[in-house]
């Protein structure tokens, strides 16, 4: 099943911890030789061997476990004063520790670490106080441990240290861009060469830190078979869970943030998506419901999908609930397409469910998912077909600090918009724009796209200003953004370029301007505000109040 990744993880932990224990044993035994009366040392050595014995057995390395058990008994006897750590016992112990080290080194090739029969006999003698046999010291092998120091390849590092590194890389990139920009404006071949090298190296450091923070998405996905089984049992349904893409890598912190969202969506799939067996049979579906959680890479984004073959989400019912719960007026309702209708389920307080089950509670709680994805600068969308099933698509960046962005200009000021929310860029002739009610729209490939004049928006400091077609230039550049299944066209003066940016949060006193999610520093030293697409969408898509009338 999907326990493979976990088994591998456990083995890696076992190996790392065992080497630590082996080193400790080695150190303590060496100390014990100088202070044979030190009971604390004996106690510690006993504890190390005790753990090795238990953990090796649990991981299936029986040779290690058995040998550790033998040594544990020896040190137990030393602790109980039945055996003295002196005389010929000492070299036997040292040889044993070396033998143990060899076993650990060749964990998967135990034949290379087979125990020397003389050693085994000597240990037997030590453990049988009644025996009169003498320890065979002539044939004692000497492992030359001084020539063989090996360090574990795996180290433990608190994620906090990697967080710190990531922040520093962010700062470095900002300064690097300043240097590159400076070099571009000064004729100095030496500087140009240096700055070009610096550019490359900084990219590589960034990549290395991002890489160090990556974990397999399987660590999260592998928790789900058990979870699905339990929820299915309560709901009286049989579910087949398929997991795809366990080896896809993602930033550890991003994965942490995704855990609750995935749990929510999987619960919903079982509770609300998959129909009871009788209903499925009636609709010619197999009794067993299918749920798939999958992950795939798309450049620096990871797409995570939670898919079920249940009854799907009825957009008419969603629309009905949305109208009843005052999320939209009946008049505006018919302007929405299916994708836009479905996106209501992410609104806080929206509820489709009338039943409360042990796991699902009231309402669908999907706004939690939306908030989590937003906080990551990711994107959420949903596809559904009545009777066939539902798929949730979570697009998240592979790494948090650095984002791809599209830079644009309004009145000679630069702004940025995260690429993850950007669908396309189009140029429109003013003639193609129409005013409908108090909004501007255009027809893009058969779909009606609502347009927002960003200049007007910014000028009014966040208060929506009616967009007047006559204020526009003859040719306008439009960035089509997507949020929560809905699209908006943002009219800008000019597009500048795409580039990776490091987004810093807004500081007080400007941190409550919601249409901007942060700020970045461009290479030329210019401060560039970063648009918060969710916020802009909220202002324009779910308006319940009318905009002021267009002047005649």
């Amino acid at each position: 099943m999907a326990d493979k990744a976990r088994e591998q993880e456990y083995k890696e932990i076992f190996v790392a911890e065992s080497f630590e224990e082996y080193d400790a044993i080695n150190k303590y035994v060496t100390e014990l030789e100088k202070k044979p009366g030190d009971d604390k040392l004996v106690g510690e050595i006993f504890r190390m061997l005790h753990n090795l014995k238990a953990n090796a057995k649990a991981t299936g390395y029986l040779n290690v476990s058995q040998f550790a058990h033998t040594l544990e008994s020896v040190f137990g006897a030393i602790r109980n004063k039945e055996v003295k750590f002196s005389g010929k016992v000492v070299p036997v112990i040292f040889e044993s520790v070396d033998a143990l080290g060899l076993m650990l080194k060749f964990l998967d090739e135990p034949e290379k670490a087979a125990l020397d029969p003389t050693l085994e006999k000597n240990l037997e003698i030590i453990l049988s106080p009644a025996s009169n046999e003498a320890i065979d010291e002539k044939n004692i092998k000497h492992y030359h441990t001084a020539q063989n120091i090996s360090l574990s390849d795996l180290i433990y590092i608190p994620i906090r240290k990697l967080d710190d590194m990531m922040n520093l890389v962010g700062e470095l990139i900002i300064d690097r861009d300043r240097v590159v920009n400076f070099s571009a404006n000064h004729e100095d071949p030496g500087l140009k060469l240096l700055s070009s090298h610096l550019y490359r190296i900084t990219n590589e450091i960034q990549q290395a830190v991002i890489d160090a923070r990556l974990v397999n998405i399987g660590y999260l996905f592998n928790k789900f078979p058990r979870i699905v089984r339990d929820i299915a049992a309560v709901e009286n349904k049989t579910i087949d869970l398929e997991i795809i893409g366990e080896d896809i890598q993602i930033d550890r912190n991003i994965l942490q943030i995704l855990t609750d969202s995935m749990l929510h969506l999987v619960r919903n799939a079982i509770t609300h998506g998959i129909e009871p067996a009788a209903e499925r049979t009636k609709n010619n579906k197999p009794e067993t419901g299918n749920i798939t959680i999958s992950a795939q890479n798309d450049k620096d984004t990871v797409l995570i999908r939670i898919s079920d073959d249940g009854k799907g989400i009825d957009e008419n019912m969603v629309l009905q609930h949305a109208i009843e719960q005052n999320f939209i007026t009946r008049e505006k309702a018919h302007e929405l397409n299916k994708k836009e209708i479905l996106s209501f389920i992410f609104e806080p307080g929206f509820s489709l469910s009338k039943e409360i089950t042990e796991f699902s509670g009231r309402g669908v709680g999907l706004d939690i998912v939306k908030n989590a994805i937003d906080s990551l600068g990711g994107r959420l969308s949903i596809d559904s077909n009545t009777g066939k099933g539902t798929t949730f698509n979570l697009y998240v960046p592979t790494s948090i600090a650095v984002k791809g962005a599209l830079l644009f200009e309004i009145e000679n000021n630069s702004f940025a918009i995260p690429l993850i929310h950007t669908d396309a860029v189009v140029t429109l002739d003013r003639m193609e724009i129409h005013e409908v009610g108090n909004a501007m729209v255009a027809d893009i490939k058969g779909e009606t796209l609502r347009l927002i004049d960003l200049k007007g928006l910014f000028q009014e400091r966040g208060i929506s200003k009616p967009a007047y077609k006559q204020d526009l230039a003859d040719i306008v550049s439009v960035i089509i953004v997507s949020y929560n299944n809905r699209q908006l066209g943002l009219i800008v003066d000019k597009l500048i370029r795409q580039q990776d940016i490091v987004v810093k949060p807004l500081q007080k006193p400007v941190d409550n301007i919601d249409i901007f999610g942060g700020v970045t520093l461009l290479g030329n030293g210019e401060v560039c505000l970063v648009l918060d697409v969710p916020s802009i969408s909220r202002n324009f898509i779910l308006k319940k109040k009318e905009m002021p009338a267009v002047p005649a």
């Binding site: 911890e17 504890r47 005790h50 753990n51 953990n55 649990a58």
Partner: protein, 125 residues
């Protein structure tokens, strides 16, 4: 409401396995401790429903921890999870208030069953 468990074991490997096993089974792991003093303090701080306790710890023996926890908060169930299997030790632990005793290495379903029973105060296996 998820029941709370505090895991006490000086081996990171063992704590990891127990943590995964028990949270998969629906428990909330409120803390991990690798020595006796930390274990006693964490028990007071997090007020778990159940503590899994290893007997061989760096600073105290597990029995001292068992006694201290039961004294501070007798309501907390303590399940010994240890590679020490001698009958005398098992008896002593049970006498000092341990709910049940699991000998390492253990099978997952057996552990879950024992923990479930312990938390719900059914007779120990």
């Amino acid at each position: 409401m998820k029941q709370k468990i505090l895991i006490v074991d000086d081996s990171f490997y063992m704590r990891t396995i127990l943590k995964n096993m028990l949270s998969d089974a629906g428990y909330s792991i409120v803390g991990e401790a690798s020595d006796g003093v930390t274990a006693i303090n964490m028990a007071k701080e997090t007020n778990p429903d159940l503590v899994t306790l290893d007997l061989i710890l760096p600073d105290n023996t597990g029995l001292d921890v068992l006694k201290a926890i039961k004294k501070d908060n007798p309501r907390i169930k303590v399940v010994i999870v240890s590679a020490v299997g001698q009958e005398a030790i098992v008896k002593e632990a049970l006498n000092h208030g341990a709910q049940s005793y699991i000998v390492k290495p253990f099978a997952e379903d057996k552990v879950i069953e024992i923990i479930n029973n312990a938390v719900n105060d059914t007779v120990a296996a």
